[in-house]
């Protein structure tokens, strides 16, 4: 089980560093926007003159969120601590997938190759699912959660397989198949909400998509780069 141990060790270290980096970036970039959006979440929609439904436009969204009454970390330090923890855990999970996948191809030779693996991770786990389901702020309209999760997983899987076929197989038919796999989820289309009416200003939502995408890009580059670096160092020391 030496290989498994090595993968876990590399993933844990890369995940720790990338997760903490991500936490810092989130507090500079995305979390302020989430907190801002949450102020719209409770508040009623800005006065919409709907002839038929004068006062109830915001009810469905507000109601949806009222259901969330389970335990939640208190705002401030506790919320930040759990965010950091969740970032590190998620990063270690992604790093396990990335490092294990790279071992199928002989492993990352160093930090530079690691960065390319990281970029692939960004394409598979952020870019492709984000085309159909852009990062959303709290209170934004969205389709049923389970359906969106299925589409997200299917898209990541199809894009990952497609990318691997494109890069590692030198065959034209397989390249065509790869492209079809990458495109297919977007032809199927992501689950859409019934109504697009949103209490969140469009500029705020757009700003969030940009911030979430850019921080994710840096996150994946750091994750891959550190993993490649640690692996090459471990190899030198042995």
């Amino acid at each position: 089980m030496a290989l498994f141990r090595n993968i876990v060790f590399i993933a844990a270290l890369a995940g720790l560093i990338a997760g903490l980096t991500m936490t810092a970036m989130q507090y500079a970039g995305t979390v302020p926007l989430i907190l801002k959006a949450e102020t719209f979440e409770g508040a009623a929609e800005p006065a919409h003159e709907h002839a038929a439904t004068p006062n109830t436009a915001a009810a469905p969204h507000a109601h949806d969120h009222d259901k969330e009454e389970g335990w939640a970390p208190a705002d401030g330090f506790e919320r930040s601590a759990y965010t950091a923890l969740a970032n590190v855990v998620t990063a270690i999970g992604f790093a396990l997938l990335l490092v294990a996948a790279s071992e199928l191809r002989g492993g990352m030779s160093g930090w530079r190759q690691g960065i390319f693996w990281g970029l692939a991770g960004f394409v598979v786990f952020t870019l492709a699912p984000g085309l159909g389901l852009p990062s959303e702020l709290p209170a934004m309209p969205a389709a049923e959660l389970g359906q969106r999760q299925i589409w997200w997983v299917g898209t990541a899987l199809a894009t990952g397989i497609g990318l691997a076929l494109l890069v590692f197989k030198q065959s034209l038919p397989l390249a065509v198949l790869a492209l079809a796999l990458i495109v297919a989820p977007h032809l199927v289309g992501a689950p859409q909400p019934e109504s697009f009416e949103s209490p969140i200003p469009e500029a705020l939502a757009h700003n969030f998509v940009v911030m979430a995408s850019v921080t994710s890009l840096v996150f994946w580059v750091v994750l891959g780069g550190v993993a490649g670096f640690v692996r090459s160092r471990a190899q030198q020391m042995a």
């Binding site: 290989l3 335990w71 997938l97 294990a100 492993g107 042995a238």
Partner: protein, 61 residues
């Protein structure tokens, strides 16, 4: 497919478990970890990881 181009040195001493099985185990573990942190419907886990889910563009709410 040419799988073993370079390999980690420590591994050469012990090859009791097949290489692919070890990689598969690591992938399984990774899927489990990401599944819990990003996809669990358990309310407490959702709330703890809330800002992370939004920032990493996991489907949320």
């Amino acid at each position: 497919m040419n799988v073993q181009q370079t390999s980690l040195p420590i591994q050469s001493s012990a090859t009791s478990t097949p290489r692919l099985a070890q990689i598969g185990l690591a992938i399984f573990l990774g899927l489990f970890v990401v599944g819990v942190s990003g996809f669990s419907h358990i309310e407490a886990i959702h709330n703890a990881a809330h800002d992370v889910r939004h920032s990493l563009a996991f489907p949320c709410h």
